[in-house]
Symmetry: D2
Subunit: 463 residues, 4 copies
Amino acid sequence: MCGIIGVNPSGGIQRYDAGQCAVLGLFAIQHRGQESCGVALSDGNKIILRKEMGLVKEVFPDNEAQKLDGKLAIGHVRYPTKGKSDIKNAQPHVLTTLHGPCFALASNGDIVNYKNLREELEKEGVFFESDNDGELILKYIGFWHITKNYSIIGAIKRVMANFQASYSSLLLTKDRIYAFRDPFGNRPLVIGKTDEGTFVFASETCSLDILDAHFIREVRPGEIVWVQDGQLQSHQENPDMYRLHHHNAQCVFEMIYFSRPDSIVFGHKVYDFRERIGSKLAENETIKPDIVIPVPDSSNFIGLGYAKKLGVEFDLGLIRNHYIGRTFIKPAQTFRDEGVRQKFNVLPEYLNDKIVTLVDDSIVRGTTLKKIVRLLKKNGAKEVHVRIGSPMIKYSCYYGIDTPTREELIASQKSIEDIRAFLDADSLRYLTLEELKNIVTQNEEFCYACFDGIYPIRLYNQV
Amino acid sequence: MCGIIGVNPSGGIQRYDAGQCAVLGLFAIQHRGQESCGVALSDGNKIILRKEMGLVKEVFPDNEAQKLDGKLAIGHVRYPTKGKSDIKNAQPHVLTTLHGPCFALASNGDIVNYKNLREELEKEGVFFESDNDGELILKYIGFWHITKNYSIIGAIKRVMANFQASYSSLLLTKDRIYAFRDPFGNRPLVIGKTDEGTFVFASETCSLDILDAHFIREVRPGEIVWVQDGQLQSHQENPDMYRLHHHNAQCVFEMIYFSRPDSIVFGHKVYDFRERIGSKLAENETIKPDIVIPVPDSSNFIGLGYAKKLGVEFDLGLIRNHYIGRTFIKPAQTFRDEGVRQKFNVLPEYLNDKIVTLVDDSIVRGTTLKKIVRLLKKNGAKEVHVRIGSPMIKYSCYYGIDTPTREELIASQKSIEDIRAFLDADSLRYLTLEELKNIVTQNEEFCYACFDGIYPIRLYNQV
Amino acid sequence: MCGIIGVNPSGGIQRYDAGQCAVLGLFAIQHRGQESCGVALSDGNKIILRKEMGLVKEVFPDNEAQKLDGKLAIGHVRYPTKGKSDIKNAQPHVLTTLHGPCFALASNGDIVNYKNLREELEKEGVFFESDNDGELILKYIGFWHITKNYSIIGAIKRVMANFQASYSSLLLTKDRIYAFRDPFGNRPLVIGKTDEGTFVFASETCSLDILDAHFIREVRPGEIVWVQDGQLQSHQENPDMYRLHHHNAQCVFEMIYFSRPDSIVFGHKVYDFRERIGSKLAENETIKPDIVIPVPDSSNFIGLGYAKKLGVEFDLGLIRNHYIGRTFIKPAQTFRDEGVRQKFNVLPEYLNDKIVTLVDDSIVRGTTLKKIVRLLKKNGAKEVHVRIGSPMIKYSCYYGIDTPTREELIASQKSIEDIRAFLDADSLRYLTLEELKNIVTQNEEFCYACFDGIYPIRLYNQV
Amino acid sequence: MCGIIGVNPSGGIQRYDAGQCAVLGLFAIQHRGQESCGVALSDGNKIILRKEMGLVKEVFPDNEAQKLDGKLAIGHVRYPTKGKSDIKNAQPHVLTTLHGPCFALASNGDIVNYKNLREELEKEGVFFESDNDGELILKYIGFWHITKNYSIIGAIKRVMANFQASYSSLLLTKDRIYAFRDPFGNRPLVIGKTDEGTFVFASETCSLDILDAHFIREVRPGEIVWVQDGQLQSHQENPDMYRLHHHNAQCVFEMIYFSRPDSIVFGHKVYDFRERIGSKLAENETIKPDIVIPVPDSSNFIGLGYAKKLGVEFDLGLIRNHYIGRTFIKPAQTFRDEGVRQKFNVLPEYLNDKIVTLVDDSIVRGTTLKKIVRLLKKNGAKEVHVRIGSPMIKYSCYYGIDTPTREELIASQKSIEDIRAFLDADSLRYLTLEELKNIVTQNEEFCYACFDGIYPIRLYNQV
């Protein structure tokens, strides 16, 4: 899970604060990655790059963002999936040659056959500085364009033919941005345009909103788009040539958890989708609690939908500390449940003798949720019923989501009843896959592999 | 507005991760100040200090916090009121002498007669490194204790006799922490204790929660408390000796806006107080909107209370970006309403043709609220009715809140109707002072000066 | 041992790159202190300060030095004597009051009765942030000027009456620099003037040279000078009022070791003084070596004078690595004599079978010299005769030089013969005190305490 | 001009502080490059790298150097020739592949046909991160070894066949260091061994000295050496296969200027070589000055040799400030000759009415020397005669020395008399090429291209 942004003023090459706009756009999708961020810019002649470990506001404070002088810009926020936490794995990557063109690339996704492709390239003499998917795609395109004289479009088509999901990528050349998406459509990528004619490519529509750009459409699976003569140009590959099943494999988890609630993703308004999950969960509910509490902030809308449908009180009974660091201190052993305690606190006396339904979006390992249940009970909750807004996660994801191995996925190891006991909850219910598919529009175009193990791509010797 | 924490294991001087606990405690009250933070520790012989500009998680990352080796600790997070943004104004301050004792002090509040007191001390030869209230209190105590041979209690009593509100302070000596609060009780200061016998002093009870400490009681106005032989000791001054009116002047705004909703402040559960504000606002409501939207996160509970009472739908229609920096970039001029756009976004298509009631806690200058109203209307809201959970702020505060001059307070310059027109709202209503006092328990013990101009302390030549 | 600089354009207050000039001046006296450096500037209204740990070129690189905008400037490079290695002990120190004047001070020297004076001030309520002499002098002046209404001249006179050597100081006020020197004249302080009328005060004349300023004269012991109406003004105290013996106590070691060879110090051209030491050493020489090698760079001129007088070959047989860090790595134990090996190397095959006379300026502990002798012999020297350009150092210095305790001074513990044996030298001779005094002009005005133990100031309870 | 070091304990792979030794070795050759430095280490399984901009003592302070844990180490200090001042151009470079071997390389020299070679590789798909020669050699070897299955020796042989001088390089593999030198022998590279059996490869013998390693011999032009079974192994290419003229082209300037005086370079003791230059210059001297002054420190030994031969007084009349930064401040315009003034100062009154011969090693642009002449005259010199220890530099160097274009070389534009007039010297004489060759042993094996334009390699389309 990473986030990408591209800013391309139309009317050819003209200066339009593209760098600052890219920073603003990244800022809106910071939730997709907090480890590093970067922006690459072209002024029409050369490409410059600025990337560092840290949040957008740290790497690009006011004075730094204003220095990003360029006519075209792409940006990236990174959440580590493949590759160590190291500036070398930060994106965008840049490819510079002695005379010829110069590229930068920002990508979101995970390449399933990364090792095979890299080995293949290394045999040709293409060496790598990082373990990062983005560098692989960039040098692959570079190799076919520079060494084998393919056109850029041709080189991207080779990517589509040979790279197994997933990638939503932006390729910056000296005078153009190419946006392309794998034939599976696994990761999102949208197109927007401002009233002034600047095209924006972004992982989520919330980046369009912050730039006052109107949502035009998604980049389609297997499509390459770019701006030429002020118009959006497109090359569409037939995605079915490159995929096992004749369907897209859009990640349903983008709507359940990853994306911001104010975004529109894969044709779904995220907040609305989540409210409908909540509503669906409430349909056959047998427990009528005193209050419904979501795990903030990711489950707020699922909780809202659930409470409304059930007609019980919705409340923000768990307070989340937004100042928390990702790797904050491990306090003295006397303070149990510390990680949760730093992140969440309960409203005082609020739960006393109440039957609580706690709503969360999903369960991965279950350890955090267990601590929250304990926290609620310690603060007076009489009963805690847990409702989960997604099916049981039984399979690892290889397409961009940092899920652990199957052994660590509690739902691949335990029954619902055992999980309930582990959580010390009074009852536990998941949304079923059937119910989920009922909510998803065009549900056959989505990937549910983490729930049902039906991967869109055959996995061979995958780590 | 700042936050303070003190950690004092009982059973005499014994090592107990006091430094790490102080950091955790600060972490819970980070909302009270994000400019700088610091911790001073005593190991029984000497006092060491570590403070820097930045957030707690930045200044005390994991490995740094674990190095804070001491038996007693006090900490501080700073929100700039008096004094420039400079490490010199960061707290705690430390006073070191050649042979004798050594003090550190952390304080929350604003000294009204700062200039007079500093001038007085400077005439005696006591010089200052900062413009900070905390240094003034510390050196004042130092002067009377070291130079004039007062006991520490005696010196603090002199503070109470001469310093005009407000201060809630923690004084660290080599073997003790003294917690004291001005006779007006303007700023909060609570006492807690863990099961293991560690006493905790903190601005808010949420710092007790994160340390698994039980709330004991508040430090009383005019009281000095400390731990001796494992017991809490107290010296109580008669606060009426030092104040104009025979009442406390607890800041009502702590409950309306400053404090975390999960804290208990001045005897009020904050979330509950805010819900009752919302409920009170709804009592005589004439407009029945389609939806109620609070300005997140500060007005969430006011909004909840309002929506429940009115029986209309409550929704989180405004999404807040928590990754925002305090001094983030000013984007290109083409993007209007930029500050608001970076901070808030609206759920797509959610407001279409709806009558919205927007709930906010207060209006200071009105500029941000005006932008939010515009944002809602641009996104389809048919009508936007604004409801404010506090009376009109017509007067500046001199006791620790960073309010602007009267000229900048919109409510001191305009009528309600003019403010409504300025905001471009369809209607506007404030909570009345009468209504507010109805909600406040023991309301005569509170300060409402920002609403009614009745200051608890006579103001003379105040900047 | 520290270095100070003051830059005061005449013709009243006018901008003249005073800050940049101060930085250049510090740069020339960097050999007097490499731990920290700083510059304080006045623009006529307020005083600003910039100081940091590190070398002048690190703290004030090009772009930083150009930002030092002020009409008057003082600067300091620090070599740690009293006080820990800490930015708090870096100079200049600044004293700021609420309304009144504002001072900065830079000082070179060591106050013998520091503790008594600080204790006295602390009893009055004057507290300190550092253990530094400069802060003591500054706040002492501040106390008597601000609290006791003394004039500035009057307050400095009190310093002269009460502070026991040594200090050569520069006091910066908003519109003036006062340069003053203790009645013993222990540390140097010179006055220069450029053709454009800028007055420069500096520890050594090499700072005048770099600024194209002509040497005017020294600040006299017990004198206070300042610039007024474009003219140098002076107040001369009778130094005999404040000293035990009716003589100056100028540090003879400034000429032997501390000062740069191109400086004029206490009326002596340093290079010339050192050549005369060498010449004097050679007068009664019985050993005629094949070559004379000085320990570079400090003993180069002593070696030159010695070789010329003796009529033997002078050579730079030891090469010094100028890139050495002060706290460089301790290499693996297999490499003996490591510190010396990093700093010095011998010309290959140069010493083979030669009789070498090694010339050094002084012996403190003797450990480094022992390693150099071993290095020379290992590289083929048949005999190594050591000649020392100063008498035996038998007593600690309390006036600004960082000598160790008497126990660590090899000459206070061993006879010449024992030292020779320790060094493994074939012969060893020191310059005698008699010989030294023969070279010094007005030799009764100098301090030789490190050689003869006759301190100009009575020492009581000195650490 | 850069410096390299390799540390290879014999007896197979065993831990022996190789990293710390490499740092010490770099420290001794810091004069060959101050821009950046780095060390790459192998522990037998993987290669780690640490490099940064700055001096050795800054990049590897005590605690950092001790962390360099590895069994084999190579290091580099960089003086920028080709490529911008950027961490990307710092060496060593490292090549990492997915499965296979892993290399690091440090190189000294300049590849004349860099562009052609890089273009050739880029056509194959080998892309570059820097403009640095070292990366080119490394990836070239990587390409032929990994892609084309050449042995490492075979790949290095290809380097020798295709790379046109100059390079003295160290290739680190997981379990070995290969040292090799171009067939022209343009840059130095020596082999040493400690008593404990550690082999050391270094640019200069002074790195051997600091490690107590004995000088064994030079790596020969066209030779590849490595350590195997505790013994030095060698593969010798016939260098004549790869060079135009059947001679080495050792850089004579290494002895004149670059190398440390205590090093042995190309069979010459550097200090001795320089003294002989001075002596040769004095042979036909017609001017008998009062004193001889060298430009310190580079010309000290030329000056010594000159003065001895002539029988006049040698003196260190110019003092050099070793604390100068490379990019120090440009002071106010009123201070003329500023660069020189920061770097050099004259002994006071020393030159009065004296006839001075100023000795320098070479003249490039002549601007600094002009300022020194002016400085001497301003300080009283009656006459200043300039003697230069090398022939006129009329041609640019393409093999590792950062000389400017011919237009900027004063000797390619002006006659000796015009240069004398430009310098405002009373007379000027250069060493002739004939005289120089007389001093050089085996003089036909050296490159004098900067003097006579006879390049050992044909130059085609060279920038």
